[in-house]
Symmetry: C2
Subunit: 401 residues, 2 copies
Amino acid sequence: MTNTFTITARDTQSRARSGIVHTAHGDALTPMFMPVGTRATVKSLTPHELQDMRAGIILGNTYHLYLQPGHELIARRGGLHRFMGWDGPILTDSGGFQVFSLVYGGIADEIKGRRPQYPGRQQEMVQVTEDAVIFKSYIDGSRHVFTPERSIEVQHGLGADIILCFDELPPFRAGHEYTAQSMDRSHRWAERCLIAQRNRDPQVLPNPDQRLFGIVHGGVFPELRKASAEFIGNLGFDGLCIGGSLGGDKPQMYEVVDMTVPHLPDGLARHLLGVGDVDDLLEGVARGIDMFDCVSPTRLGRHGAVIVRDRERRWRLNIENAAYREDDGPLQEGCPCYTCRHYSRAYIHYLYRVKELLGIRLVSLHNVAFLINLMADVRAAITAGAFAALYEEWLGKPLPQ
Amino acid sequence: MTNTFTITARDTQSRARSGIVHTAHGDALTPMFMPVGTRATVKSLTPHELQDMRAGIILGNTYHLYLQPGHELIARRGGLHRFMGWDGPILTDSGGFQVFSLVYGGIADEIKGRRPQYPGRQQEMVQVTEDAVIFKSYIDGSRHVFTPERSIEVQHGLGADIILCFDELPPFRAGHEYTAQSMDRSHRWAERCLIAQRNRDPQVLPNPDQRLFGIVHGGVFPELRKASAEFIGNLGFDGLCIGGSLGGDKPQMYEVVDMTVPHLPDGLARHLLGVGDVDDLLEGVARGIDMFDCVSPTRLGRHGAVIVRDRERRWRLNIENAAYREDDGPLQEGCPCYTCRHYSRAYIHYLYRVKELLGIRLVSLHNVAFLINLMADVRAAITAGAFAALYEEWLGKPLPQ
């Protein structure tokens, strides 16, 4: 088994580095943004469109795929790659995040101060024991049990190239005590996941060469993050994620990354889970993050929000705004994506106004391509020793010291 | 100005012929099926996908484009071709059909015996005078007036390569008297459209070389169809459509075609308006029709109905059916379309079950490509003197004598 990660260049003024993630379905360059294909599709786009925009790894959600159509059905079809027609690298999460976030509200809710989706229904929807998480399907209310072993088994059936440890997502704004207990449990689950991974029979799996990434917890507490980084970092995983609560706002999220990364082994790839705003990508890279994923580009696309290079407007514009009714320019001047090469803001504005599906397609494509192209620029800048300049050009401020 | 239509081959056992429609945006081969892009988009597909499947002409709906975003806005953008990014031929209808069909119910409703959409609201929604049709917008209830001259002016602004006469669609199951009166009025309107077309100033229009097709009326009455075919056929149009009531079922529709075509001038292209079922295309070609259009491939696509080569099942299957849950075959064995080359029934079944937009895209693409490919096969058969064999192979019966 070859290394999972090779570092190819380092920035001298920050923790930024560029590298290569090696997988059974090819190499992918870091830093990278991974589009999310929750239900075996990056919403509204084809695998060929993702290939054309040079997407590296795409992410599938184990929780959704387990419930429908089921990992066994996908395994019988030859695995997720063949099922969805994408033969590049795939990463699946463990299902843990979704099981909990449907109840507590996700990190995004936490960051944005939104309430959980089902307050008070926590007990009804999810129970956590030392051994397992018992949850009800959001589809039909049926009862399901996930253990670390079961999550790994499901991910073996899906056959992604990178799979993640099963972990507990602590409740919204958990205190120190619960966060510490939850971290310890996630650590015990991490060990169980590693054992399940080592005991697999590669002969019967759609993808015999899967790599397992661990997840660092510890919430917003520096000593917990340090402890978790050191524990998970030395357990023998093929790569590492920073998960759990990332705090209540963006500055706190950057603090969490800062208190974690220095304690991680240098040679493993680092994935900051569920983060994908333009500023978060640049801030994350500066702090030593290699991999990012987020549903935002396609979610924004469904609501007509276009990612643009405009810091003042928090990197987006609403294409339904009347200002674009007769705007013959592309969504983003200079953007090389398919949408910007061929269609005007006026046309896309019209498609949204009359609720034509093509509008969602075109904006989703642009949004995903925008973040993928941004990361290609970031990689080129790191290699050229120009990351500080790129950071300042985009964010209007110098690199943090 | 060159000829609009050249006949290149004729079948010896039927009225089928193949030919070329010449337009300012290129030639298109007949017999052809034209995908409908009501609102400047063939629903869910890009112009490049239509190009890849070798679509000839696509059709836009003047009524919808006039109401939103408006023909003047489209003209300021350089016309419909540039606005939507399709530089192949475009045909627009006159708006008449939609104005009336929203009230009376369309030909499809008539054929299928469905009730009109707004029974009793006819007076409220549409008024017809000798000069004009006054109607309310389905969007905001605003009042609009269409005259033959106004329809042509709107179509000049849109800039399609082929535009249609403004006509009246007689009410559902109109009798002989009303049909005759309505036909006479549509004839007078046809003359006004021709005058408006001749008086245009090509210098100020997005597309200076537009061709105007007339529409033959007369309902289900042979002597009216004959009179209309002879009147409209000799008025100097660049091509001809068969419109108005086509009867209450498919056999009656074929009768209407049979009572009309022999009275049309041989040298003009013939477009049977709004018809696109597999059997209707073959029956129409056999009766001398050159052009067809229908929303059905994309409308069926939105409901998971896949067009397949299966006469017994009336040319379609429902991909949401549990039978396809683990079916690794393509939508249609042997189909060369993008969808069938890359995706399984099982995957597309799943996409529909979880309501992913990509499902609609993939089935819409297949459905449109299926009809376009069928027509390519029809053209090849006519050229090779094998149309009778192809007709029998698809419909399981010999050509009608």
